[in-house]
Amino acid sequence: MTSVWIWADVTTSGVASSALELLTKARELSDDVGAVALGPGATGAAAVLGEHGAGVAYVSDDDRLVEPTSRVAAHTLAALVASGSPDVVLFPSSYRARDVAGRLQALTGATVMANAVDLPAIHRARAEVLGGTTIVDIDLAGPTPHLVLLRPQSFEPREVGGSADLVAVDVVEPPGLADVRVLERNDASADGTKLDDAKVVVSGGRGLGGPEGFRLLEELADAIGGSAVGASRAAVDAGWVPYAMQIGQTGATVKPEVYLAAGISGALQHAVGMKASRRIVAITKDPEAPILKLADLGVVGDLFQVIPALTEEVKRRTGR
C-alpha cells in the first residue's frame, strides 16, 4: 500500500500549522500516513498530529536534532525512511525542512521537488512557475521516498479525530560530525496579530525608504484592527524590519481579505507570497511596477501622503 509521510516542524511551543496542512494532503493520497517530528516538543505534538490524520508519529525530543547544520536530523530521517519505506515524504518550505530535505537527498539519491503547490498523484507534483502564470506538472522518478516541499497554505488543516501510534526514533549522529556551535540566539519579539491570522496585511517595501516608514504602516494596521504588518524581501535584507515579517518566496505566504502593498514593486519572489489574497491594493510611485497588474486597486502616487490620509479616513469611520 502507498505510504505517505510528512515532516512536522516542531518546537516546545507547539507544532507548525504547515504540518497539519500537509496531513490533509497526505490523507487524500493514502490511508497509511506517518508524521515525523524530530527535536524538543516532538512527543507533545503527537496528539495534534494524530487528530489531523497521522496514523503513526515518529518522534524524538532529543535536542541534538536541532543543531544548526541539520546533519543529525537528516541522518536520523535517512535511517527512518530506510526502515519504514514511505513512497513520498511531504515537507513544508521552512528553512529547516529545506536543509533536512537537501541533505537527505544526498544520502538517498531521491528527487527533491521544491515549491510544489499540490500532488495531483502520488508521484506527480504541481508547481506554479513564472510568477504564478504557468502551472507545471512534474513526474517524479528514481529512488523513493520522493521528497516534495510544499508552499505554505496550499491545503486547509482538517481535524479527523484520530490518534497516532507513537514510535520512538533513535538519533543517528553522522560520523565526523563537525563541532558547530550556536554562540548567541536572538529571538525577535512576536507581539501583535500574526501574519497568518490577519484579515488585513499591510506590507511595505523598498519605497518606504527606511525603518521609520514602517511606523506609518503600523499606525494604519492599528486603525484597521485585526491587521498585521509585513514586508518585502528588499526591506528585510536592508535590515529595516526582522525576517519574521517577510512575505514571499523565502518568507510567509498570506491570504488575507485585503493585502495592502506600499512601496513594493511586486517582483515574482514577492508575488508568490501574496497573490492569493482576496483583494489587493497597491500604492507605488512607479507606474510600471508589476504589482499594479496584480492589484484590484492600484494607486500611483506618494505613499507618504496616501497612507497617513488613509489612516485618518479609517479612524474617522471606525472611531478608533
Partner: protein
C-alpha cells in the same frame, strides 16, 4: 584561504522568462547574466581573501552562454573559474546539479569555504547548496546575513524562524548567504579587461568522474498549462479622493 563561490547564469533576471517547446526554461539566446543574488556572496568572499590572502574560484554549471556569469565573477575579482557544460545536463534536476558541482569542488583540492546564494533568482529551489554540503561531508550554515573567518573558524549570523543566531563552525564549511552579507562592487574597467586572461577550466563529466547514471534526471515534465489569469484591476493616480476609495474597498471587504 581559498573560497569556491557557486555562480549561476540566469536568463534576464529583470525580464519575463519563457518556456520553450520542451517545457524547459529558454536559456539559449536569452539576455542572461550572473544571478544578482550570487554577487553578495562573491563580494564577501573577495573581501575575505583580499584581507587574509588566497583565491576565489567561481564555479558554474550551465549552457555555453553561462560563461558570461563566470566572466562577470572574474571581472569582479575571482582568480579563476570552472564552467561545466554538457548537452546531457540540460534539464538537470537538483541532485544532478549537486553531484556535478560537488565533483568540481572536490577536484579543486584545498577549499576552505564554499559560498552560495540561499536560492537562485530563477529556480529558487533553495536546497541545492546543502545537498552539495552533504555530498562533500561538510558542515553548513544556511541563511547567513553576516560571514567572517576568525582564528581559522567560520563565524556567521543567520536568520532563523525565531529571529537570528550567531554560529561558529570549523572549516571547511559551506555557507549560503542572503543579500545582507556585503554590497557587491561594480567590476572596474581593469577588472573586465583582466577577466579575459584569467583561466577558466572546462572539465568534462568524465574528467569529474561522473557517469551517465550520475547525471540522469529524476524529474520530467508531464504537462504545462496557463494559470487562470487575474482579471485586471483599476489603476488610478493618487488624488484627494484616494483615501476614501481605499477605505471603501476595506468596507466592502468588511474589514472595517
Amino acid at each position: 584561504m581559498n573560497v569556491a563561490v557557486l555562480v549561476k547564469w540566469v536568463p534576464e533576471p529583470q525580464g519575463t522568462p519563457a518556456l520553450g517547446e520542451d517545457h524547459l526554461l529558454v536559456r539559449e539566446g536569452a539576455n542572461g547574466a550572473l544571478d544578482p543574488g550570487d554577487e553578495y556572496g562573491l563580494e564577501r568572499a573577495l573581501q575575505l581573501v583580499e584581507r587574509d590572502g588566497g583565491d576565489v574560484v567561481a564555479v558554474s554549471m550551465g549552457p555555453e552562454v553561462a560563461n558570461a556569469a563566470v566572466q562577470r565573477a572574474l571581472a569582479m575579482g575571482a582568480s579563476r573559474g570552472v564552467h561545466v557544460t554538457d548537452p546531457s545536463l540540460r534539464g538537470a534536476d537538483t541532485l544532478v546539479t549537486a553531484r556535478v558541482l560537488a565533483a568540481v569542488i572536490r577536484s579543486l583540492g584545498s577549499i576552505d569555504l564554499v559560498v552560495a546564494a540561499v536560492e537562485s533568482t530563477d529556480g529558487y529551489t533553495g536546497t541545492l547548496p546543502i545537498t552539495i554540503a552533504e555530498l562533500l561531508g561538510l558542515p553548513s550554515v544556511t541563511f547567513a546575513t553576516a560571514l567572517d573567518v576568525v582564528e581559522g573558524e567560520l563565524r556567521a549570523e543567520r536568520q532563523t524562524v525565531a529571529g537570528s543566531e550567531v554560529v561558529a563552525s570549523p572549516i571547511p564549511a559551506l555557507v549560503t548567504v542572503t543579500t545582507g552579507v556585503a554590497a557587491p562592487r561594480y567590476p572596474s574597467l581593469k577588472g573586465v579587461m583582466g577577466a579575459k586572461s584569467k583561466p577558466v577550466d572546462r572539465p568534462s563529466l568524465s574528467d569529474l568522474g561522473l557517469s551517465s547514471d550520475d547525471v540522469r534526471p529524476t524529474q520530467s515534465i508531464a504537462g504545462v498549462e496557463a494559470a487562470a489569469a487575474k482579471s485586471g484591476g483599476r489603476v488610478i493616480e493618487a488624488g484627494p479622493e484616494t483615501a476614501v476609495e481605499i477605505a471603501n474597498l476595506l468596507a466592502e471587504a468588511r474589514v472595517i
